[in-house]
Symmetry: C2
């Protein structure tokens, strides 16, 4: 079995061969095949830019791999600002010893996901670092993304959130997190990562002319992490109805065994969005009609803080109580992206 | 001394505090301070995009650090395509244990270099990975860059290289490489890295209306690595005059001791360019008038291959001989970027 060596990172002949055999083979397009240090592509008058590094272990897990993950993560960040994702750049940091066939599997998965999400890999880079003790080498990937803003669509910001808005989530929470953690703990279960591009549902919402006030993908820190940030940034009180929040029975029991709260568990293919009350039902139907949105739900609403109250995230529990969901402290959970 | 912990990568409170205390403090601007997952910025009709990961050790070395290095590397890649660099994205992968004060030194250096090069950091991301045995944790940085193409300037490509073109290099070769290698071998010497943005000289050449046919920064693989690639891609024969190639006495003796060839040693603030013969002298004067270009030199010329000859890189030696400079094979040299 062929493996990555330091020579693959030299910038010389071996690097060229690796690029040809793996990266160009799957990701090649008319821009990338120029093999230049930078790529010239058509632009637009307003751009969205983002970056994310992916360091998840294991890098291949039930329902996905780091290649699918990095494309989804970057595409979703662009979508959430209201942009149409266009180009990705990919920086690979490979550890010596990484089996070439695993790298190939990951790059192929990246190419498939990029095609699904309608983006082009416009530039790439490869570095090799010493293996520091793993039985077989791993890899990390950075993806940066460029998107074009839609004509007539304002960029989405937390300040767009209004009292009276309804809160929707596009599906069940915690699946990615549970899939990764289950792997790491070598627990047998049937949970698969939800890693997916949210392109179809984002596009459908804008195409149908809905007035989305804000949207965010639910990743590190989980739903409670994201909504805490948004409560603070918008100066509003966000109230959630516990019994309406979708979590699969498998994730509920997995989280129960480990003493975890699914509201703080990360996803990689879910979004939360804020829409005016009168558009909430239509938004829900649009999302439910999309792939990856079948389990979408209306989970809460927004109000102004009362006198002396801070902007805050509240959970109305099934038994009639109310508790504050604070931000995530400490390590939280193993790295999942 | 405060150090990076896994909690700094959780995406929760500690991540926010790290961003405030270090990243926003130095890199903050009106875009970045929105703290969104993606940033919306003004665009242009034609974009250049690039990406590079930086994994150099040591990450602070004589004459620079990984923060200066990543900005220079990315800015220079954009400049070499004929673009004006505009935005950077930065993805930090921190190892737990990294002293916060060293991270701060690196981020400050990044900010200073970005200001020198006239680019804005538009988006960022931070991940923390386990320390895998270093006494103190290290870090890796990915920077992606977006530039705007100049109106009326064609993107530069190897196919632009013409028979009769003169080859110029913007300064002495091998300094970055020798500085890094000297550190790693704990050899005492006075060589400092040449890491620098090439913005001033690239801009001056275009502003003065010179017809640059191609330019490349001289990084991994050294001058011989870059020119080999360009000979192959342009289908031309590139001939260099050994005695005209600038190398400092310190690098010459350093390379001599270790049996290295400065022509294959990397730089991080040098470029090689191809100009029509009648503009070569003016180009040389323009570059020499720029900071980082004082030691620029005319080092060779381009011709068509003769019948049966392949596109190739030739070195005409000081004693009247000619030898072929092949591409870099094997590991070459320790990782320098």
């Amino acid at each position: 079995m062929e493996r990555i060596t330091m020579a693959h990172g030299s910038g010389g002949e071996e690097t060229s061969r690796l690029i040809e055999a793996v990266f160009a083979k799957y990701l090649g397009n008319s821009y990338l095949s120029q093999m230049e240090d930078s790529t010239v592509v058509p632009g637009s008058s307003e751009l969205a830019v983002t970056t994310d590094s992916f360091v998840v272990t294991p890098y291949i897990y039930p329902g996905g791999d780091i290649g699918r993950l990095c494309v989804c993560g970057t595409v979703n960040d662009l979508l959430m600002s209201g942009a149409v994702p266009q180009y990705l750049t990919c920086g690979f940091i490979l550890e010596e010893g990484l089996p070439l066939e695993k790298l190939e599997q990951i790059v192929r998965s990246m190419a498939d996901t990029a095609e699904e999400a309608g983006v082009l890999v416009a530039a790439g880079d490869t570095k090799v670092i010493e293996n520091r003790g793993d039985a077989e080498g791993g890899l990390m990937i950075n993806t940066a993304g460029v998107g074009f803003m839609r004509a007539g669509v304002q960029r989405l910001l937390p300040s767009g959130i209004q009292a009276g808005d309804q809160v929707l989530v596009s599906g069940r929470l915690g699946d990615h997190h549970a899939a990764i953690l289950g792997c790491r703990l070598q627990m047998a279960h049937s949970i698969r990562s939800d890693n997916a591009p949210l392109s179809e549902m984002a596009e459908a919402l804008f195409d149908r002319g809905l007035h989305v006030h804000e949207m965010r993908d639910v990743t590190r820190g989980g739903l409670a992490g994201v909504l805490n940030e948004l409560a603070g940034a918008s100066g509003k009180v966000i109230g959630l109805e516990e019994q309406d929040i979708p979590v699969s029975p498998e994730v509920t029991s997995f989280a129960g065994i480990l003493g975890l709260d699914p509201l703080y568990m990360g996803n990689e293919g879910k979004m939360v969005l804020f829409v005016p009350k009168k558009e909430a039902q239509e938004a829900l139907e649009i999302i439910r009609a999309c792939r990856y949105g079948e389990e979408a739900a209306l989970i809460g609403s927004v109000r102004e803080p009362e006198a002396g109250e801070s902007p805050i995230l509240l959970l109305h529990t099934g038994i009639g109580g109310t508790r504050i969901l604070g931000p995530l402290y400490g390590e939280g959970l193993p790295r999942i992206c």
